[in-house]
Symmetry: C2
Subunit: 308 residues, 2 copies
């Protein structure tokens, strides 16, 4: 029996880095991405085309794309916040762009000073333009479970926006638990509905570990048929001074669970440990998900030939 493949989409170089107080230069970002590619990550969110004044961590993403390794085998994506960002991405030869549509009125207003309808229309326009340009478009649906301003997000609202994005030309919906508030029962409900309505191949999940439930939520989504998960190397994201506390679910935790369960990610766990260590060096901040300590010990034993 051939093991089923699961895509792990690494978001450390964008979602992870943009929340860090320490900014990596182009060489640093490239070194990080090289370590990820060497570990077998073949789907990587490499950066975003946002104003360098607003997000200095992402300055120079166009130049970075020109230097990315293994572009034939690795799918690199970039986040585009608006039409200007989209044009910059297109000019830089980016093959996959993503937009962020928050699922509530207030979150959109607070984030980008536009209402939900207006943001939805703008995102739909970008997805349509990408499809016309032969660029793959992905739509993040943010605060899909709970909004810090409006509380629990009605699943029907997320389902409506999902259908709208797919109709506009999006190839993938990434359902994001932006504040790490989801529980596995909610995940089963919302993701189950989306998989039935839109097909598992169009649905991916993005979890944060704020309440410690990220990996359980991955399991719930997996059992609803999802085979595509965002994660961040070492749990990078959130506050840099509390690794793992409120960051993204760690890539090594997701890969270890999937591979242990007999699924196939194409990612090498020992090389992933090396990637966590490389990124920790670059950021001068210790990183690592819940399984990292065990994985590092295992990798060391494999190298040294020691017995368990």
């Amino acid at each position: 029996m051939v093991a089923e493949h699961v895509t792990v989409n690494e978001v450390g170089p964008r979602d992870g880095l943009q929340s860090q107080t320490r900014t990596l230069d182009g060489d640093g970002r490239l070194a990080m991405i090289r370590a990820l590619v060497e570990a077998g990550l073949h789907s990587i969110e490499a950066g975003s085309f946002v104003s360098p004044k607003a997000v200095p961590q992402m300055a120079g993403t166009g130049e970075l794309f020109a230097r990315l390794p293994g572009r034939d085998e690795v799918r690199y994506s970039a986040l585009v916040p608006n039409a200007r960002g989209y044009e910059l991405a297109r000019g830089a030869g980016v093959g996959t762009v993503s937009v962020v549509l928050s699922a509530t009125e207030t979150m959109n207003r607070r984030n980008i000073n536009m209402g939900l309808d207006e943001t939805t229309a703008a995102c739909a326009e970008l997805m349509a333009r990408a499809a016309a340009d032969g660029i793959e478009g992905w739509a993040y649906l943010a605060v899909a479970y709970e909004c810090p301003f409006e509380g629990p997000t009605p699943p029907a609202q997320v389902e409506r926006l999902a259908a709208r994005m797919l109709g506009a030309g999006a190839r993938k919906l990434i359902i994001a638990d932006t504040i790490g508030a989801a529980n596995p029962a909610q995940v089963r409900h919302l993701i189950g509905n989306l998989v039935r309505a839109d097909g598992a191949r169009h649905v991916a999940c993005h979890f944060h570990d704020t309440r410690g439930m990220a990996l359980a939520n991955v399991l719930a989504a997996l059992e609803e048929g999802v085979r595509d998960f965002d994660s961040s190397i070492g749990g990078l994201g959130g506050c840099p001074f509390s690794p793992g506390a409120s960051g993204n679910v760690a890539t090594e935790d997701v890969v270890l669970m999937l591979e242990s369960m007999g699924l196939r990610t194409g990612i090498d766990l020992d090389a992933l440990v090396a990637a966590v260590e490389r990124v920790s060096e670059l950021l001068e901040s210790p990183l690592g998900g819940h399984a990292f300590r065990w994985l590092r010990r295992r990798a060391g034993q494999a190298k040294g030939g020691a017995h368990v």
Copy 2:
């Protein structure tokens, strides 16, 4: 609709403390247990009747039992390694005793210098004696998924031992992932079989978080019908210098997930935060599961009346 109840059996005062280099005296252990009871934990493994030379952390368990608070509403259990321990427990008025039966030949030999058949017979004898004495008997089945010496444990072996213990008079089987090696697919397989064969009311689960999968494993067991989980306050257990790294699944993580999913544990999350802090003080070592930071912030906000 009345929410379904799930039992959370706190093992910090025994499984947690016995691995600590710092030994609490009777007053310290009692202070710990008081904090747990105040948080609403009504099932607590309070100690073990082992040789104080072998396990000094558990010396004086008989005296401790005489001082335990709320014995009408709290089910206190004690681990008994052999007939001598059982008699000491009975003499101390212990109402629930547990035995540990490792599911592999080598683990029993290494641990207690007895083979699997001999250990099985000894545990069955203790379960029968407890039943005859009107004491509730619980059987831990250790290394139920993987043994550090023999590798993966055949599920059929665990199922056979489970049936044997229930036949001998055990009221509850506690299926233990002693080295934290289980993944959710294995859990669903083994626990599903046990629930079908023996009934969910006789099956409990005990997970360690060595590979970061403990909470996902709790979810898998929950979905197979289990409504009884061991956990340890703050993730206590394993190495005291790497909190959470290889310890038991943290009580606060389990309770938060269950309550978030709409199940009822009877445990107060804010009081649980206070219990984690109390035990951290007693052991002079910072504790806390994956959700602790978020729970503590939430508890602080509730107290101070601050808005999220």
